[in-house]
């Protein structure tokens, strides 16, 4: 035998803390997820495939993942910009702006959903403006995109902010003394240092957007094949007590999410290796 399972320690409370941790983790998280996987296993791969392989399900899955990707990409760019402005610049209202970044985390999704709908509906403040140029936002895929941008907004900014704070200014000075323009320094010195953290934030925003339900269903219009997201499809199946189909779509979503997170993790490992450990 190699290392013991738990090293001996003078600390008290091993049994109690381990007991509470493992019991609650099992009851609240592992047992329910296990039930989903078990349901999927009973249903079988063929059954899952037959449920998922319908036009309406493919359309919903494709819509969810495509719009989540676009929203996360927008948040990647805007989040890095926000983090930079908040850390490097001093201006009146900076603290307020900094606190406002967390609002999408704190504001419940149903609240965000109805207020975004009120804003972007054809008779809303922003919706009316858009309607003048013939642009419909609420009840179209644009509306879904705006809701997904809203819920994913804090992730990149919050993961990149501490990294910008840690950057050694001397590195930028060195780049400048060597004759690099400011833009060149930002692109080739600063940005690579931010990349791993930005990618982490991107992955979190993406995962959040793919599973998002509350803020989307109000603004989406929920038209099958056009603006129906994958989580809504699960809710519809559940309301019809169609547990097998709901489980099949749920498992399909989990599998695609894990595959995407795996790819992002690989890119991250690769970018860390390329620019060294920062």
């Amino acid at each position: 035998m190699g290392r013991p399972l738990v090293n001996r320690s003078p600390m008290p409370g091993l049994g109690l803390s381990m007991g509470i941790t493992l019991t609650m983790l099992s009851l609240v998280v592992l047992l329910p997820i296990g039930a989903l996987l078990l349901k999927g296993a009973n249903y079988g791969l063929v059954g899952i495939w037959e449920t998922v392989n319908r036009e309406r399900v493919w359309a919903a899955l494709f819509l969810s993942f495509r719009l989540s990707l676009i929203a996360a990409l927008f948040n990647l760019v805007f989040g890095v910009l926000l983090a930079w402005v908040l850390v490097r610049y001093r201006f009146p209202g900076r603290r307020l702006l900094d606190a406002a970044v967390d609002l999408p985390f704190a504001l419940p999704t149903a609240v965000a959903g109805i207020s975004l709908t009120a804003l972007y509906a054809p008779n809303g403040a922003f919706g009316a403006l858009a309607a003048e140029i013939g642009w419909k936002i609420a009840y179209t895929q644009w509306g879904i995109l705006i809701a997904l941008v809203f819920v994913g907004l804090p992730f990149v900014a919050r993961t990149v902010q501490p990294v910008i704070e840690e950057i050694d200014r001397e590195v930028e000075e060195a780049s400048a003394t060597l004759g690099a323009s400011r833009l060149h320094t930002l692109r080739h010195v600063v940005l690579p240092m931010l990349a791993p953290a930005a990618l982490t934030g991107f992955a979190l925003a993406l995962a959040r957007a793919v599973g998002e339900y509350g803020s989307v269903i109000f603004i989406a219009g929920n038209i099958p094949l056009v603006t129906e997201i994958a989580p809504l499809l699960i809710v519809i199946q559940l309301e019809e007590f169609n547990y097998d189909a709901a489980a099949a779509i749920g498992i399909a979503m989990l599998l695609i999410s894990f595959a995407m997170l795996l790819v992002i993790n690989l890119i991250q490992v690769w970018s860390r290796r390329r620019i060294g450990n920062v």
Binding site: T21, L81, R95, S115, A247
Partner: protein, 284 residues
């Protein structure tokens, strides 16, 4: 060149700086602040009297009571879990620690709807456990225990996540010293550990509570949204909104928005006053 125009080589030009600040302020105003303002504007559309009157409706009142009750049960349970998990993970060395942390973080990467689905599949009337519990007279799904479980699932990592980095940073030396001086386990916890982690604990509880009171997707799936019985504030907002009772829906939404604002205010205060006792990523 005069001193007034001197600019360090590591600064952007004033023009670029102003443009970036303007972009950040405009973007955040349109994307985040406008929806917040819209909640209150819509709630007060027919005046404050109409808004307050819609709150005194019995369904709205039942929803508020249920949401507070759910939070009062699930948040302390998750706080207890967070403390136990952080203690177990930071005070002992064991195999599979990284894996355990991944499992605790799992609920963050699972869609709330899928979380609700999992609970329905485990405890619903057509599962083995669920059927047995219904026979005993303890239905879980479409009843309060299911809502508590769904809420606990989606907020599961919050407290543990705040405590683990703080307790790793603080190490075990102070507890070991107290033990050598003859203090018992509980005494060490109450007099040494808890004072060290209290602000981080409060921070985690704050975020956990905000999410618990606002959770929609998972609760919508498991609660059955029975008016006056299992409808929480967020699911009641949905029902009112779909019945075109806009003022009532937005007034309840404004209640949750106020809760969000108070949460952000307290969180910012904690970050300003007790930054050194929070996880390193919250210090700025």
């Amino acid at each position: 060149m005069s001193d007034a125009t001197f600019r360090p080589a590591t600064d952007e030009t004033p023009l670029a700086r102003r443009a970036l600040i303007a972009l950040a302020v405009t973007g955040l105003s349109v994307l985040v602040l406008a929806p917040l303002v819209a909640v209150f504007v819509e709630a007060l559309r027919d005046g404050i009297g109409a808004a307050l009157q819609s709150l005194s409706h019995k369904d709205a009142w039942a929803a508020i009571k249920l949401t507070v009750t759910i939070a009062a049960i699930s948040v302390p349970l998750n706080a207890a879990f967070g403390i136990a998990a952080a203690w177990f993970i930071t005070k002992f060395d064991f195999r599979g620690k990284a894996f355990l942390i991944t499992l605790i973080d799992l609920p963050f990467s699972v869609s709330p709807v899928v979380a609700g689905l999992c609970i329905v599949l485990t405890f619903g009337a057509n599962s083995a456990i669920g059927a047995w519990l219904v026979d005993q007279g303890y239905p879980i799904v479409f009843a309060m225990p299911g809502i508590v479980l769904a809420t606990m699932f989606v907020t599961f990592p919050f407290v543990a996540r705040e405590l683990i980095p703080v307790m790793i940073e603080q190490g075990r030396a102070e507890e070991e010293a107290a033990l050598t001086l003859g203090a018992g386990g509980w005494r060490v916890f109450w007099t040494v550990t808890l004072p060290n982690i209290r602000w981080a604990l409060l921070y985690g509880v704050l975020l956990c509570n905000a999410r618990a009171m606002g959770e929609f997707g998972a609760v919508a799936v498991v609660s059955g949204k029975i008016r006056g019985q299992t409808a929480t504030i967020p699911t009641t907002i949905e029902m009112l909104y779909q019945e075109y009772l806009s003022v009532a829906a937005f007034t309840l939404a404004a209640v949750l928005a106020l809760l969000a604002l108070v949460t952000l205010l307290l969180k910012t205060l904690l970050e300003l006053r007790h930054a050194d006792q929070l996880a390193a990523t919250h210090r700025h």
